[in-house]
Symmetry: C2
Subunit: 295 residues, 2 copies
């Protein structure tokens, strides 16, 4: 047996009394050596009062998954190139945090100047062959924002370039994929900057501008209450924008300078955005006072 096999794994301590063992770069080792080292490590972590143990194994180390499971580890989550297993070794109740639970989808509401809405028919999926004209939809990608994802999907599917306006509404759905995962679908209004459709061939059967009333009145939208409610919000926006208020975006920074977007009511977002635009001028204090202190 390799003389190093009985050393313990190099683990990084987390803020919750846990140990994270990242084996993404580890050279292949035999199951026997892995098991011996893991046994010694677990004993040592237990003595130290550690609680949750995390092991991240690259695909190359898939022969070791079975050894970890046999020692009381369970799967926690997996991505293409690795699997993460956890074991709670403390007597206290487990506080191992949950896996990702949701996927975020978007539907894009885009009008042209004749109150026609941009609609598509898809080649595959649940609407295949139904003749239903639907809003362009899609999934938010890893690390992508809702507002940029909506703009991307519309351009990919139809060639129409747009600017994000507001999230008009969103809905939750459970057990919507992989049996027990949930999804949130955000209905986004976008403003088109070109109007000539160039449809994507791989997913989109057809795309066109359709009078909004015709879109809303499709039997499918009338039979499905959720779709009817959403179509109705679009109709309301198409008639008089001020009659329906959604959530607009404000770019903010946390104390470490990392940027992220807040989605909030349009009037308030306007106030906050105005503050940001003016922040570099001497007006800042006055505006800050106006926006935040309401006096």
């Amino acid at each position: 047996m390799d003389s190093g096999a009985h050393q313990i794994f190099n683990g990084k301590e987390d803020n919750y009394g846990g140990i994270v063992v990242n084996l993404m770069e580890m050279e292949p080792m035999t199951a026997q050596d892995f098991e011996a080292k893991l046994d010694v490590s677990l004993k040592s972590w237990k003595v130290q009062g550690k609680r949750g143990i995390w092991i991240k194994l690259s695909s190359q180390l898939s022969s070791l998954v079975d050894s970890a499971i046999k020692r009381g580890f369970t799967y926690h989550h997996a991505e293409n190139e690795y699997v993460v297993l956890t074991s709670w070794i403390s007597e206290s109740p487990s506080t191992i945090p949950a896996n990702a639970s949701h996927r975020i989808g978007i539907g894009a509401f885009v009008l042209n100047k004749s109150r026609e809405v941009l609609v598509v028919q898809e080649i595959g999926g649940p609407f295949k062959g139904t003749g239903v004209w639907k809003l362009p939809t899609g999934l938010i990608q890893e690390g992508e924002d809702i507002w940029t994802g909506a703009v991307r999907e519309v351009e990919e599917e139809t060639g129409i370039k747009t600017k994000f306006v507001e999230v008009l509404a969103f809905r939750e759905r459970h057990q919507s994929f992989f049996e027990r995962k949930s999804s949130i679908f955000s209905l986004c209004e976008l403003e088109a900057s070109n109007f000539e459709i160039k449809k994507q061939d791989s997913e989109i059967l057809d795309a066109k501008w359709m009078p909004i009333e015709e879109y809303v009145n499709q039997p499918f939208n009338q039979k499905n209450e959720m779709f009817r409610f959403m179509a109705n919000i679009c109709l309301k926006r198409s008639k008089e924008k001020e009659k329906y208020a959604g959530f607009s975006t404000v770019l903010t920074k946390n104390s470490a300078g990392k940027e992220s977007h807040l989605y909030c009511s349009i009037d308030h977002a306007d106030l906050l955005n105005r503050k940001c635009d003016q922040a570099s001028t001497s007006l800042f204090t006055t505006l800050f006072h106006k926006c935040f202190c309401f006096t």
Copy 2:
């Protein structure tokens, strides 16, 4: 060798030219038998023009993970008791859908009649020992709605029973957990129906009602722009509710009768909810016309 080893796996066809092999209930089998059967199956699926192959392996079958990986499968996702592996066997570009990408968190804004806000200090986590008073926060559980999750978290942490009012705003954050996953955090207003705090001992160090201005003016909220913006929305609601509009919930059904919630602008939600309340009366047609046709 078992005479049945060369039969192909029972796979369920999906709507996208894929095969899903669910081995959750399979008796343990040797890696050798699994590999032989998988090889024959893959050959057959390829001839049939199948594209994406999914294999779901229970924890009890962890000894087979390595065999699948060695045959070109990659991890797709995992939950405590199973791992799912996929292989794209077609020449066309892969359209295997993405794994769950987000976790949904909530922050709860609850006022009492003296314009004091319900705040807590946590025992662990990033705010440990900072003295910062924060809104009760938490994660949405598997299959749970944002609005029910917010109500649950507040009662768990503080003993205060509440009714959901609105989502006031939400923010996106990327690489926020497990290195590459994203989160959406919804700021929810709730209405308290009792006011005596009974704090949870396991996670909460202290809980109290705090004058809203004092909450907003904490240095932490002023230094962190995102927190300041959210605190500011709470302040605005505390002064005059009508001055800031969030998203309220409407219960809807899809065409199969499955219920889910739509979150939309409060005025519109009121209209839709009123429609639902009245749907059983003869007023339905009139109201439907009023709500949906805007004529």
